[in-house]
Amino acid sequence: MQASPISRQCIIRIKQYLFGASRMTPGLATRYSLGLSVCLMLVSPAWGQMISLNSGPDMAIEAEYRPGDSSRPLILFIHGFLQTRDFSTVRRLADALADNGYSTLSPNLSLGISKRKRSVSCESIQLHSLNASAREIGLWVDWARQQGHRKIVVLGHSAGSVMVSAYLALQPNTPVDKTILISLDYFGPGRPAAFESEAHAISAQKMLDKGDDGLATFALSFCRQYVTTASRFLSYFNWNEQKVLSAIKNSSVSNHVIFGGQDKRIGKSWIEDLVSKHALVHIIDGANHFFDETHEFDLLDVVEQILGDDPVSETR
């Protein structure tokens, strides 16, 4: 059950007031607003539907679809590495934007698991690749188009943004209107806190060179023990910053990149590189990689601002 758009907007504004005015601690404000949410939920009708697509043999993918104002773009939310649609950053944005009348489509990338419902732990057997996720993004974009949504904005967070970039590289002629890439980073070497990923990449390559694509444990992203095949590992690892930059540069869409000013994973050079690749970079001061606490509102504002830049009447 979810709150109605009006009630949710009220909750958000109340939270903004309470916390912005610094009259409550963040936790207290959150608890207060949650309590208020419960009360409002009780009187608010629920809406949203689960969409299921077949992405392959015995592979179904699902997304939460909330149709909104048809004059407004549909926003396709891509969650972070091994996460689900319910990851806080994307969830809050999806809910807020849905409440604001935007159509939202929040899939769970399968990550090799049909109708995946939960985040995947690092130690799970990872039978997914970056490319597969990129293809799934494409499936959702196609579906959205099939639903009549003429403007589609793909919003990704963290690794989700990387996967969006992979999608852009995969489909340079994407019908997506723009992308909003929150906390965009990259796999590959040079990534902060990469563990032994570089060495593992060398090992993985060697495995492949030997024709061994069996399961092995690698370090990838925040997973120190990431169990996957060499090829699948490398599908992520090889999507380095150059490839991201190349994908952005070569894409025909408008790419907005939003960083938190306090995101430790993002270096100044990266920002400069993105800017040089014609990405529109937005910095929210004080926010971290996940835009926690009050920065979620700042993020929302920026996203809405980004969403509101192009008039609805424009078509591609």
Partner: protein, 753 residues
Amino acid sequence: MKSYRKIITMSISGYAIVFMFLVAVMFIGTGLYSKNSIESARAGMLDSNRVSARNEISNAIVLLEASLRRLESSLVEWDELFQQIDHPEYYGYWREHRMLNTDFLPPLVESAELFDRDGKVLARFNNSRFDAQIDDTNLKPRIGLESGRLVMRSFLKVFRTRSPLEEAKGYLGIIQPFLPTLNEFSRFNYVNADSLSLGLAEGESIRLDEVMQRIEFDIRTSAEAESMLEIVRNSVLQLASVIALLCLLFYLLMTYLFSKPLWRISQYVDRLRYSDPGSLEQDIHSLLQVTELEKVRESLNKYHSDLAAAKDNLDRKNRELWKLAHHDALTGMMNRRAFELEFKKSSDLLMYHRVGLGLILFDLNHFKAINDSYGHQVGDEVLKAVSQCIQKSLRKNENLYRLGGDEFAAIIIGSDSADAVMVAQRCMDLINEYDFKNLGILESVRVSCGIAHCQAHELDRLESLQWQADVAVYQAKRPGVNRPVLFSDDMADGSESVFSSWINNAVYEAVVNLAGIEMHYQPIVSNANGEIVYYESLLRIRHDGDIVPPASIFPVVALRHLETEMDQAVIQCITRDLRDGLIPRHTGVAINLSAESLSREDLIEWLHPLKPFLKDYSLLLEITETSLITRMGTAADTLESLRKSGFKVALDDFGSGYSSLRYLTGMPVDTIKFDISLIQGMQEPRLHKMVNDLSAMLAELNFDLVAEGIETRDLLDKVVAAGFNYSQGFYFGKPQRGPEVSIRPRQRSGSLG
């Protein structure tokens, strides 16, 4: 006769121990009863607990089943499960590393296996504990015994959605240890979880819903009950300890408060019997005093004090009485009784301490004449003066004894005969020097003094010392002898008859111990019908097998002044003969009394034992006329009192002594016995006439007349004709002892009269 029931006593300590024993018995009984009650309650509780335990297990199984359903339901969220079902190529790795390491499966799951929708295992592994193919129609959880452990095999359907229309994508088999899993769902308050078992054989399995039919278990002892039992047990032990302590304190208290003080009191009372332990002092060291015992102590002390005072008084009275009993009232000297005692003691001294013993006898010469001449009062003064002179002469610790009449004795201890003679001479000299003219006596008063002495080694002479002294006195009385005479053996010659030690011993033995006295009885027959009306008792003494005749007896008695003693002995013997039935009933006995006895105030007491026989016998007291006449004043009241008691008085030997007819009317006599000399004198006509006239006269005075000495029929006829009522003599029988007495005299034709 009273029968006395034996009373069983026990000390206070014993009672205390019995009490403690009873308390212990009661306590043990109560404890056993409580224990039984608790055991019963416990058994009831166990039954109830057993029911509760089964319910616990049943509920746990229900919860277990519910948890399996919940687990099955939650599998829809387990993405990896479906990943493996859809892409089983890495099932082995996942099975090895991931399947049991997630939060989806309960931590107790020890083995799991995935099966596809057809029930076929995704991959076979050697360490798999599942069959490769499961029967999807028999997926109920089963409990089996594997390697000695009960394990539960469950097969959960794996659905991707919660849609009731969806078919299972596969099956997840899990193996859990049954008992620990069951424990997860119940705290098992009643069941001893360690005891749960199903009684399965190795490899055997049952369905989960069959468990209750096979489950075996032990009841966990109720903590509360056990606690309560422990509390009761401890309480009982503590109570037992307290009671034991109280009993010990009670025992000690009893001992301290009662037993010990009472023991003190009883010991004190015991000591009272033998000595004077003084008063029973309060036990000042005793911490606790019992009021009642203190009262007993005080009462005992008072009683002892009163008793001591009474004893002192009694002692004083005894001393006075002893003095009275052992002193001569006239002279103040010790009397014969004291002499006999002292002589006995002195004899013992001689026997055991080997000292010499001397006996001096003093006998006033012609004392009777002095009495008769100057009167008894002067005679008494003479006796006092003589006794005082003798006492002065004796040494310290030597006492003078008045043996009776005018005879005195002194016992000299530790001396030889010369000393005794010297002492005696000193006494005689003092008496000779005394001026009796002060008493109005013109004649000289002399004493005859006889001495007998025996040395320490002459114990054989001791027995006859008195006799020897008598012999010596006899010798001293010879004319011209004015000195003490010491007995010598040649004096014994010629004195056998009267001074025979054999006779003396016989007489003494008879008097002192009643030894040898044989009363012989001679019948007195009624002249009217010839019936024996009574028997005269005549003294005989049998000594060393021989009879001592009266002729030998009475001189010794007279000389030794043993008249009253002999009369008492005779009375005792006659009493014994009457009691033994020696005398035929409805007859009588005549008892001869001496003049000395007649004067005794206690004569009535002597004769008291004979009173009971008065109802069946006639009892006569025969007194010589001389005795009666000379003691008329003192004897009259006594005789009159005896007559009133039922005794009769007979005047014996009438006609042989004083025969004043004037006294006859005033004499308290019932019978007059004419002396043998008068009766046998009736052969002579003049005496015959006199006896006839006398008897007629006395008969008119209502005296019963007895004729003594009837030895012929002719004499008998004469006395009968003279009016005598009764006759006595050899004609009717000689004095006899024994059954001959009961034989009636010879029957004659016709009456005697």
